[in-house]
């Protein structure tokens, strides 16, 4: 039964990684850049909801929405100020700018909220679920996280496949210059991608801090990197890939924490990335692209 408990909490952690990884994978697929600041947008979202819930005493669902909306605005502003001028520049300068933005957000949070750890009050106030005569306890946060992740996956897939905007996103990720010729507003599409990614980061931030209630300015950094790893494992640019990669990573991390060593769990997760890059660099669901000159 211990194993099942670890598995369920691993799935819940994996769902959070999957939600973050969606933001990475969409931005990477469409804007062809690694948005390093994604994990830090998540952290900012968590701080905003912390202020709303714990300081102002607002309703949890309302503050979740407010946090998501603020994250969306932050995401669009970042894209407009820092990334848009660099469209068409070489990838190294874009990457360095993204690191600068990530670092900027961390230090802003450090200046505003201080370095000490804030204890976050969970937004879910349901009783935990007891199964098999109390042998298997599942926290309500885990259930909400997993359910929310599935809902987001379905909603996002429908959005991409059924709406005009979603089709435009697919087109831009396929071929940017051709979609400009077809009358698609590329800049608008990229901004929209950032908005969706940041909105999801807001949800992920609240869920992450509900499950692991410690909040510091670097809270978002490690989950951000791991979500990127999840996106790479699942196949970068692929939305179901991000889901699968996130779940694999979450389960692996929790099981290695439980059975091998807590200190080495990060190392194990990252060695999975290295193995994946050696064996199948395009990821589980990724397409191998042939480059034409």
């Amino acid at each position: 039964m211990d194993f099942l408990t670890y598995l369920v909490s691993g799935l819940s952690l994996g769902s959070i990684y999957a939600i973050i990884a969606l933001g990475y994978t969409m931005v990477y697929g469409i804007a062809k850049m690694l948005n390093f600041a994604h994990g830090d947008v998540l952290m900012i979202g968590a701080y905003i909801s912390f202020v709303f819930i714990n300081q102002l005493g607002l309703d949890p669902i309302l503050s979740l929405l407010l946090a998501c909306i603020s994250c969306t605005i932050i995401g669009i502003v970042i894209e407009r100020i820092a990334y848009k001028p660099l469209r068409g520049a070489n990838s190294l300068s874009v990457l360095i700018t993204a690191i600068g933005v990530s670092y900027f957000l961390q230090n802003i949070a450090l200046l505003i909220f201080g370095a000490n750890t804030k204890s976050y009050k969970s937004i879910v106030s349901l009783p935990p679920l007891h199964l098999f005569d109390g042998n298997l306890n599942i926290s309500s946060e885990s259930i909400v996280t997993i359910l929310l992740c599935i809902i987001i996956m379905i909603a996002l897939t429908t959005f991409i496949n059924k709406t005009k905007m979603g089709q435009a996103m697919l087109a831009v990720s396929e071929d940017r210059s051709a979609s400009t010729l077809m009358g698609i507003n590329v800049n608008g599409t990229i901004a929209m991608t950032f908005a969706i990614g940041s909105f999801l980061a807001g949800i992920a931030g609240v869920l992450l801090c509900s499950a692991y209630p410690t909040l510091t300015p670097t809270t978002g950094a490690m989950p951000g990197i791991k979500a990127f790893v999840a996106a790479v494992i699942g196949g970068i640019g692929s939305i179901p890939g991000a889901f699968i990669g996130g779940l694999i990573l979450g389960v692996l991390e929790n099981l290695s924490k439980a059975y091998i060593s807590a200190q080495l769990s990060d190392a194990i997760v990252f060695s999975l990335l290295i193995i994946m890059l050696l064996v199948k660099p395009s990821g589980i669901l990724g397409k191998t692209s042939i480059e034409k000159v």
Binding site: A89, L92, V94, Q263, L273, I274, L277, V293
Partner: protein, 362 residues
Amino acid sequence: MDLLKKRQLKKFRYNLSTYLMIIIAYAIIMLLSFQGKISSLLNGLLVPFCTYSILAVSLNLVVGISGELSLGHAGFMCIGAFSSAIFTRYMKFLGVEGLYLFVIAIIIGAVSAAVFGLLIGIPVLRLKGDYLAIVTLAFGEIIKNIVNAIYLGFDEHGAHISLKNAMDLGLSDKGFIVIKGAQGITGTPHYSSFTAGVILLLIVVTIILNLINSRTGRNIKALRDNRIAAESVGISAMKYKLIAFIIASSMAGVAGVLYAHNLTTLTALPKNFGYNMSITILVFVVLGGMGKIRGSIIAAVILTLLPEMLRSLQDYRMLIYSIVLICVMIFTSAPSMKQYIEVAKSKLKHIRKSFSKSKEGI
């Protein structure tokens, strides 16, 4: 032919001025310190100047010359620092001390950092894209975590390693613990000096400048500028990117050795071997100019000195660094900014021309 000679002369001048800058700065500081005119604050910064300059120059080889991004430079520094400090500390325990051990320590630090560079570089540099940044970032964090958790001791049966605590090592009475988990290594011998640092910096700069102007260096730069074109004329991308990455890692290891033997206690904190340190080195490189060796050294020295002079800015230091990164990138790489600069340049030329014409008229 004439153009080639001119270009060679220009390179020669650039290299010479770099060496001269280091040597003259060294001479001035030595002269001042003989007269006792150097404050203790500056005196304490002399070895860090060298350490950070070596780090900046070596990261410039990866970022500026090879066009890849390594965010784990502090991790390689950490490897160099700890591997060499284990050696010198153990030698001190055996009662052996001497400056020749420092030379061996430098070799140990450089080689062990290079081995890790090789292990990371082989799977990652095969691929196109930003994978190196993520993997090196993860590597830096993992190394810091492992070093903080590890216990290492020696007794007559050999080395004992544990990840739990000091008791778990099972050392005999004659045993001796080198790394005590988060407390790190205490009592490392103080071998580093400003002279040693400057000599190491000169060696590092010589290696890099010669590499850049060699056939290998031109291959590396060709891969940076156009990977597809370079590969189509038979330059192996992985081989040359790997060469640059390994050399840079081993140099970061050397900087780590210098760092470790400047302090009596060596611990792996986020401040010295974490992500912050890697970013700080990146700021040195970006602000000094990517691919510009001399610029990296100047930026490293100034940005090490400034925060010490302006203590009140300490809280805002990292915030300012992040803004510097964003602004420098936008002003130097954004296509629209490049256009503005081109227009401004041509206007300036025009003004100059009309100015000289009007002079002729008189």
